[in-house]
Symmetry: C2
Subunit: 365 residues, 2 copies
């Protein structure tokens, strides 16, 4: 059952957003620039996105009565994270258009399905093997090699649900460490750089990619994004080609991010897909201040059935995440030249929690 094709939104429409974190908040702010209203659905009482909308639903994603009222109040539903329960997406899809299509979630919520999907497009990933039971781990290690990373197939993010297996590691300990659940084993990639491409695809099939971003992680959490990435033009073009191929294969509507590794061997660069995020992405935050259109506005334009904009980068850019207590330096950042400060209004600080970000733009390219 489906609510049918999404309508082209009028300027008085309301967008429903599943998830009330900083991504939801920034989606709301982008929609508001365009005159659109939003209704945010989130189980957490102090969600950052709740502060910037008139209409909120604080309820569990399995609360069908709440989902029903939510669906009736909005013209289209979208989401700020990829772990929306499949039943929630299906329930809403039957009542109102959901974009991007929940079928994409079925693939991107499962690391194994995602890797196989990417492979089916002829796009390279790290060598991988499924591990459904502890008995399969030895053969998988044989197949992909060591060092390797064992990851849960579902619900992993920011380094959660994964563990490295080095030459001396005990594989069974690793299996227990990730919670003894269906997993994927991936060979460790000795990458030169981590990059990402944020791409938008409109209903009419038009695709617009932002410039390739180079990402620096600390403890598996994004710390700094730099644009342009310090890679040869041909590698950047290849990364954008990959992102475009993925959104096209999905028939995607909205913004999607592809995280990739750049590997250099024998002087040759190779690009491997690491992960797909079917949503706006932290590595695209620089677009708010550093491009003529932001990833958030592109997403809203796409799901509204409105024309995409052509992004023009405003210079050389660095985006710095303010993690945990780092947010307490906000006054120094406010005083720094060339720095655009974003705070997410989160009520409590926890180590590693994304509390805000700063974008520095140097107009020289």
């Amino acid at each position: 059952m489906s609510a049918g094709p999404a309508p082209t939104l009028g300027p008085d429409a309301t967008i429903g957003i599943l998830g009330g974190g900083q991504l939801g908040r920034m989606l709301v702010l982008a929609a508001a620039r365009l005159g659109l209203k939003c209704h945010v659905f989130c189980p957490e009482p102090q969600s950052p996105a709740f502060d910037v909308v008139r209409r909120v639903t604080e309820a569990d994603y399995t609360d069908r009565a709440a989902l029903d009222r939510f669906a009736a109040d909005v013209d289209v539903v979208t989401y700020e994270f990829e772990n929306v329960p499949a039943e929630t997406a299906a329930f809403l899809s039957a009542r109102t258009p959901v974009l991007p299509d929940p079928n994409v979630l079925a693939i991107t919520q499962d690391r194994l399905a995602e890797k196989r999907f990417v492979g089916s497009l002829g796009i390279a990933t790290a060598r991988f093997a499924p591990v459904d039971a502890p008995a399969e781990l030895a053969a998988a290690l044989e197949q992909v090699g060591r060092p390797a990373v064992l990851k849960t197939r579902r619900f992993g993010y920011d380094g959660k649900g994964q563990v490295a297996i080095h030459n001396g590691s005990d594989a069974q300990t690793a299996w227990r460490a990730i919670g003894a659940q269906p997993a994927i084993l991936e060979v460790f990639v000795p990458f030169e750089r981590e990059i990402s491409v944020v791409a938008a695809r409109a209903r009419d099939g038009r695709v617009e990619c932002f410039d390739v971003t180079e990402n620096e992680h600390r403890d598996h959490i994004l710390k700094i994004s730099r644009v342009p990435a310090d890679i040869p033009a041909a590698v950047a073009a290849e990364a954008q080609r990959i992102a475009k191929a993925i959104v096209e294969a999905f028939g995607y509507v909205g913004v999607l991010a592809v995280e990739m590794f750049v590997v250099k061997s024998d002087g040759e660069h190779t690009v491997l897909v690491n992960e797909i995020a079917p949503r706006v992405h932290n590595s695209g935050h620089w677009t708010i201040d550093g491009a003529s259109v932001s990833q958030f506005e592109q997403h809203i334009r796409a799901i509204a059935g409105w024309p995409l904009a052509t992004p023009v980068r405003r210079g050389r850019i660095e985006m710095i995440n303010l993690l945990g207590a780092e947010v307490e330096d906000y006054r120094q950042w406010l005083a720094a030249p060339d720095a655009a400060v974003h705070l997410y209004g989160k009520a409590s600080t926890r180590p590693g929690r994304k509390m805000g970000h700063v974008t520095r733009v140097w107009p020289s390219r």
Copy 2:
């Protein structure tokens, strides 16, 4: 009675905004970027700013119980328009800090007091004379000359409350046309251009002016702003000097706009102050997309006690107001390259009503 000096806001603070139009809406969006919460107070039920905040008060500005609750809920109060009733501002000031200081309103709400204030700073205006009664009009016309403009002292905007008196006009008809109320007669200024300067002043006295904007009005309503204004550098510097002198004389905290005429006679340029708006201003909307910091964020930084940013213009800029039915062209504007589209989410379209704006930025300066 006063609530005492305004505190420096923490990142969890709430800003109270009097007025819920598009200026209030854009102030809320700027505050939200910085993690701050807003509470909007406005008598009109479908106020554009209501859509982007969780906490609203829909009540009359004279509703003391509502004002009392509003004051108790916020850390500082500001306003998006200059016609806040003096009693409202005084009532709130006794309960919570109000910025900019309501004393400024007493001057800027009265065209005569405003012109005299500007004159007291040694800054030129058009010749003017007070007209408190119809009998005074003939002498006033004798003094300032014809053609002239008769304006109500209070509550005029977008050309409302004013009428031209040409050589053949009957002065008494003009007096009745503006509603037979205390007025000011100003000689008509044969200006070469209309310009404005948007200036921000922080609590520490720092002043930051945006680049001088050239404004084109249609039927007394701003239609297009262009930056930089096509004026000699010395004239631009003089315009910014005037704006700085005014915010300093007021001991102002926040953003203020000064509208000026550039007059050319015998090859010499003169700058005359036309009007002061003690608030963010339509001619500063270009700063959202065209500068490294917007007028809205500068205002929020100033009233929060946070450091001002140094605005850097991103290129040559044109800001076009979408008035009345012009907003129906929003899809064409969305598809136009270099165009950033802003819609205000207003429920109904009326001729001349400000429904949105478009900013075009060409990175070449």
